[in-house]
Every structure is written in structure tokens, then in C-alpha cells.
């Protein structure tokens, strides 16, 4: 259960990270982000990753927790990467 919660936090983190990219931000939210907004997105995303780490470790212990967390990060990053680049809304170019 905690692993799934951690995974969703990772997904959230990578959505936020993805939105710091000018192009993706414009496609999904209609305008380019300013510097301050990007910084806030980055902080929020990092926070979500850290939270995911503790949530996962709380559920699975300090041996398996970090291992599963690493897996969660990669899976989430991959899924978000695919959705950002291939979801219909991104059919711009």
C-alpha cells in the first residue's frame, strides 16, 4: 500500500518536473512558465520525491524501501515521459 502511495508521489514529482520544461508547460498549460514558477515547481517536485522516499521506507523498511523507491522513480519517470510526449494533447508538432 505504502509502495503505491510512494509511486503516486513519484508520478506527481515527475509531472511537476516535466512542467518546468518550457515546451511542455506551454502545451499543457497554455503559456511558458516564468523563472519563479519554474523554481517553485522544482521545489515542489523535489519535495514529492523526498516524501515518496520516506513513505516507501516507512512501509517497506530501510532495506527494501530504498530499493523499491529507486524502482518507483524510474517507472514514474518513464510513464510521465511517455505521457508528456505521446498523449494527444501534445500533438503539436
Amino acid at each position: 500500500m505504502m509502495a503505491i502511495a510512494g509511486f503516486f508521489l513519484c508520478m506527481l514529482a515527475f509531472v511537476l518536473f516535466g512542467l518546468t520544461n518550457d515546451e511542455h508547460h506551454r502545451r499543457w498549460l497554455g503559456r511558458r512558465p516564468d523563472k519563479e514558477r519554474k523554481l517553485r515547481l522544482k521545489y515542489a517536485a523535489s519535495l514529492a520525491l523526498v516524501a515518496a522516499f520516506f513513505v516507501t521506507c516507512a512501509g517497506l523498511g530501510w532495506v527494501m524501501g530504498p530499493v523499491i523507491w529507486s524502482g518507483e522513480i524510474m517507472l514514474a519517470a518513464g510513464l510521465i515521459f511517455l505521457s508528456f510526449n505521446f498523449a494527444p494533447a501534445s500533438k503539436k508538432d
Binding site: 509502495a3 518536473f17 516535466g18 520544461n21 515546451e23 511542455h24 532495506v63 527494501m64 530499493v67 523499491i68 529507486s70 524502482g71 522513480i73 524510474m74 517507472l75 519517470a77 518513464g78 510521465i80 515521459f81 511517455l82 508528456f84 510526449n85 505521446f86 500533438k91 508538432d93
Partner: protein, 543 residues
């Protein structure tokens, strides 16, 4: 300075990646498939019943061994889980007069058996199953193991160099994290290569580094040589064992192993992975059990030794030292034996990403150089060599695997050397791909190989439905997740290969590279396939 450093790293990345890239591709693909080792062990023996109660299998194993080899020197039983295809056993007969204790080598083939889920000896089709991919991953095939391991070790070292230099070379690793420019030729290839590398970077670093650790005693033996004058001493330290008792010659019945295992499981804190019995049927009988690697991160699992007649605990392995645990955890992380379904999928997908990374890197070498060819109709020798090898390996190896899966299904059960012939089929098909790549234009062969691989993979689940009682619907109804997962993976990868083949075939090479020319002329792709799908860029010259 910084620019020069990056340039030098780019050079290093290019050549460390290319020179052993083809070998790395095969290693990576086989390793990825080896994450489904247990699953394939079952999938490649569809006639075997599923293991429902592991203890029943152990009891069957003991009954079989007591009948077959009552006075053996030792028995070895691999304890099955519900994921395994059964329990593999082997026994070592008493050494004959004048024969050393190690005189048993080579005779193991006749001294082994397989106990199925119903506790009976089974005669399944002869196959290496998933073990082939696991072994090929570091032992390769058709060559002495020691050469293979040096080759694999060297390739792994190059991989580590390529990954680290790649990180330095990649200018905007965070800024471009989410960037994928599609249908832009070389740019798309680079983005695809970067995406597969960066998204799974923690995995790539981990798997390469821990891969070296698995071979460390061979690659860097000096620490052992310097600290242990007697070669056997290090094994005693790393793999401690209880004292071996001498055979007394007095017969005594062996305790029930399955029952004793319950005590062992309690003491070791998890399921037992293997049981070894020395001098069964004698008053000096000893039963040693080790915890299974599926429930621990470290592969250095603890063990216990019991008196085989009374069932009294005699010995417990001491807690391993820090270095041994470190190495054990690294090997454990590499092999992922502890990974349950969800994490195993992540391992597998990361492996797929890694295979795509190596494959797209190899193709990128060609794509980059094609644009700069002085005469595209007459590329220089090195260019042609790399291009042909790319086709033969990146296109040919997957075809070989698909053919091997079919051989597993179609070769007659009574065929002599059947297991070996399954593997020969892989290499025959792969060799055929190489020959075809040498004599035909690259583009046609890319299309043919991908289409062939896709068709073969896609057809397999349908064949399973018709010819075995373990088709996809039956597996779903039986709740047999492993068979469902493998058949579904075959379907998906078959479709992916076919889709790539279609894209390669439909590709119309630009007459001259003009910016924006190919805009909107091609169907949308997926990240996994973009690099491959763009392949024909390399084939312009022949087209």
C-alpha cells in the same frame, strides 16, 4: 578546458560504446529476459503441473531419493516455490576406492532428476528453459566459460565507461529530461538514446557496477591472493559450513525433511531455498538447509545443519562479515531474485530500456556519420562494417530468440540432444541474419528481420492456445499470472516489432536533408520504438 574535457568524453563515449556494443546488446537482452528465468523455466515446459504445495514436492523428492540413491554420499534438493517448475535434485554417489572426494565431476548428468508439482518424477521435454538466458548473460555460448567471462567482464567495464562518459557528454541532462523531438532524424535518435539512458540511469549504473562485482574475484583476484595463502580458506570464510561427519556404516532412518524444514524456516526467518543431505541413511547423516534468495536482498543466505537422524540442530552459520554482506547485497541487486512481480516488471522494463539504449547508440553512430559521407553511394569500409553488424546483431539476435522459442514448442520430444538443439536453432537463425545482412542492402534486412521476429513472437501465444493446455484464456481462468504475463509480453513485443517493421518499410528517405521536410508525413510513434523506427535514415544510401 571544460569544452575540451567534454569533447574527450564524447570521444570516449563513442568508442567505448561502439567497440563492444554488439556484445553488450546481446548481454543486455539476455539479462533482461533472464529476469523471467523462473517464468520461462515453466513456460518452456508447459506440460508440467503447477507447484501448489512446495512441501509436497520436497516430500516427493525425499521419497524418490531414498529409493533411487539410499546410500549416496550426498543429496541436493532445490526447494521449489509456487513460481518454480518443480524441484531439481542431484545426488553424489559414494566415491569408489582410490578416487578422490572430487572425482564426481562430469557424472552429474546421470545423477539428477526433476520432481513436479504433484511430488512425482516428471519427464518434461528436454530444455534449458530460462536458464539459457541466465547463463548466456555471463557465460555466452560455444566457448570456454573463462574466456566468456573475461569478455563479458571487459564489455561491462566498457559499459561503465560509456555510461559515465555519456553523462558528461550529455550537455543538458536535466533540462532535456523530458524532451523528445520526433521525426527529426539524427535529433530524434539522440533524444531516444538519451531518454532510454537517463530515465533508467539509476538502473543502468547499478546493473553495470554490480555486474562487475559478480565477476570481481576473477577480474581482480589480488586481494584474495594477498590475504589467503590457501585457496580453500577464502571459501570457508565466505561460505561457512558445519563440520562434516564421517560415515559410520550403521544404518539409521532419515528424519522427514519437509517437517524439519518448518523448524528451519522459523530459525532462518524465511522460506528454505535448498537442502543438502550428507550420508543419508547412516547414523552420521547431516541435513543442511539454506534460506532462499527470494526473500533476502543479499545472496549470501544463512544456513543451518541438523543431525539427520535425531533432527537436532547442530550448527548455525555465523553472521557474515561486512564485506561479504556488501558483496552479497550487490549480487542480490543485480540478479533481482528477491523481486516480486511488481519490482520484477520494473527490472524487466529497465532492461528493455537498456537494450534500446545500446541498440540506439549503435545505430546513432551510423546516423551521425551518414550525413557526413563524402559519397553516400560508396561508404567507407568501417561504416559498412558497423552498419552490417548493427543489422546482424540488433535485428538478428531477437530473431534468434523468437526462433528458439518456436524450437522449444516444435522440436520432437524424443529428439536426442533436444535442449542443445533449441539453442542451436537460435544461433542458426542468428547466423542466417548475419549472412543476409552481409549480402543484402541494410534497409531490406532491417524490415525483414523485424517483421520476422514480430510475426514469430505474435504467433506464439496463439500456438499455445491451440496446441497446449496453457493458452492465454486457460491461464487467465486458472489465475496463473506467470503464463499470462509471458504470453502477454510476447503479444506486445510481437506487435512492437511488426510496427517497427512497417515503419521501416514505409519510410521514404528525403532526397536531400531539408529542415522540416518530413513534417507530418509519418504516423506517431512510441518512445520505445522511435529510435528503431527511424532506422531507414541509415539505409538511404542503398535505397
Amino acid at each position: 578546458m571544460s569544452k575540451n574535457f567534454r569533447q574527450s568524453q564524447a570521444f570516449l563515449h563513442t568508442w567505448s560504446g561502439l567497440l563492444l556494443g554488439w556484445l553488450l546488446f546481446a548481454i543486455f537482452v539476455a539479462g533482461t529476459i533472464a529476469f523471467a528465468r523462473e517464468g520461462l523455466n515453466r513456460w518452456m515446459r508447459p506440460e508440467l503441473p503447477r507447484v501448489e504445495e512446495p512441501m509436497k514436492v520436497v516430500a516427493g523428492a525425499q521419497a524418490f531419493l531414498q529409493k533411487k540413491a539410499p546410500d549416496a554420499k550426498s543429496w541436493y534438493i532445490s526447494v521449489p516455490s509456487q513460481q518454480s517448475f518443480g524441484a531439481q535434485l542431484f545426488w553424489v554417489p559414494q566415491p569408489k576406492e582410490g578416487e578422490g572426494p572430487r572425482g564426481r565431476r562430469g557424472g552429474r548428468r546421470d545423477n539428477q532428476a526433476l520432481i513436479g508439482g504433484d511430488g512425482q518424477v516428471v519427464n518434461a521435454r528436454e530444455t534449458r528453459g530460462g536458464e539459457f538466458f541466465y547463463r548466456f548473460h555471463f557465460d555466452l555460448h560455444y566457448m570456454p566459460v573463462i574466456w566468456a567471462r573475461w569478455l563479458v567482464g571487459f564489455a561491462t567495464m566498457m559499459m561503465l565507461v560509456a555510461i559515465l562518459s555519456g553523462v558528461v557528454t550529455h550537455k543538458k541532462i536535466f533540462k532535456d529530461f523530458f524532451t523528445l523531438r520526433r521525426n527529426k532524424g539524427q535529433r530524434s535518435w539522440l533524444d531516444g538514446h538519451n531518454a532510454t539512458a537517463v530515465l533508467a540511469l539509476p538502473f543502468h549504473l547499478m546493473i553495470t557496477y554490480t555486474g562487475l562485482v559478480t565477476l570481481m574475484a576473477m577480474l581482480m583476484p589480488w586481494a584474495v591472493v594477498a590475504n589467503y595463502t590457501e585457496p580453500n580458506k577464502i571459501y570457508d570464510v565466505l561460505f561457512p559450513q558445519g563440520e562434516v561427519a564421517e560415515r559410520t556404516g550403521e544404518a539409521a532412518p532419515l528424519v522427514n525433511i519437509a517437517q524439519l524444514m518448518r523448524d528451519g524456516e522459523k530459525r532462518l526467518g524465511g522460506p528454505i531455498g535448498s537442502v543438502q543431505v550428507s550420508e543419508p541413511g547412516d547414523t552420521a547423516a547431516r541435513i543442511t538447509m539454506s534460506r532462499g534468495a527470494e526473500t533476502m536482498l543479499s545472496t549470501r543466505t544463512p544456513s543451518l545443519t541438523y543431525d539427520g537422524v535425531t533432527g537436532k540442530l547442530l550448527w548455525q552459520s555465523p553472521p557474515p562479515g561486512g564485506a561479504a554482506v556488501t558483496a552479497g547485497v550487490m549480487v542480490g541487486l543485480h540478479a533481482g531474485r528477491f523481486a516480486e512481480a511488481g519490482l520484477r516488471w520494473i527490472y524487466f522494463l529497465c532492461g528493455v530500456a537498456g537494450s534500446l539504449m545500446v541498440g540506439s547508440g549503435l545505430v546513432l553512430w551510423i546516423v551521425k556519420r551518414r550525413e557526413k559521407l563524402p559519397d553516400p553511394m560508396r561508404p567507407y569500409f568501417g561504416f559498412r562494417l558497423v552498419e552490417k553488424l548493427n543489422v546482424a546483431v540488433v535485428g538478428g539476435f531477437p530473431l534468434g530468440i523468437a526462433v528458439m522459442f518456436w524450437a522449444n514448442r516444435l522440436l520432437p520430444v524424443e529428439m536426442a540432444g533436444r535442449a542443445q538443439w533449441e539453442i542451436h536453432c537460435l544461433f542458426i537463425a542468428w547466423g542466417g541474419a548475419l549472412v543476409a545482412a552481409l549480402i543484402q542492402p541494410a534497409r531490406q534486412i532491417w524490415t525483414g528481420l523485424f517483421a520476422g521476429t514480430g510475426g514469430l513472437l505474435l504467433a506464439l501465444p496463439f500456438y499455445n492456445m491451440l496446441a497446449t493446455h496453457r493458452g492465454l484464456p486457460a491461464s487467465i481462468l486458472a489465475g496463473d499470472g506467470m503464463f499470462v504475463a509471458i504470453d502477454a509480453t510476447l503479444l506486445v513485443s510481437g506487435m512492437a516489432f511488426l510496427w517497427v517493421a512497417v515503419r521501416v518499410a514505409r519510410y521514404t528517405p528525403p532526397v536531400r536533408r531539408v529542415k522540416g521536410q518530413r513534417k507530418g508525413t509519418k504516423p506517431q510513434g512510441t518512445v520505445a520504438s522511435v529510435p528503431v523506427a527511424e532506422t531507414p535514415v541509415l539505409a538511404e544510401a542503398e535505397a
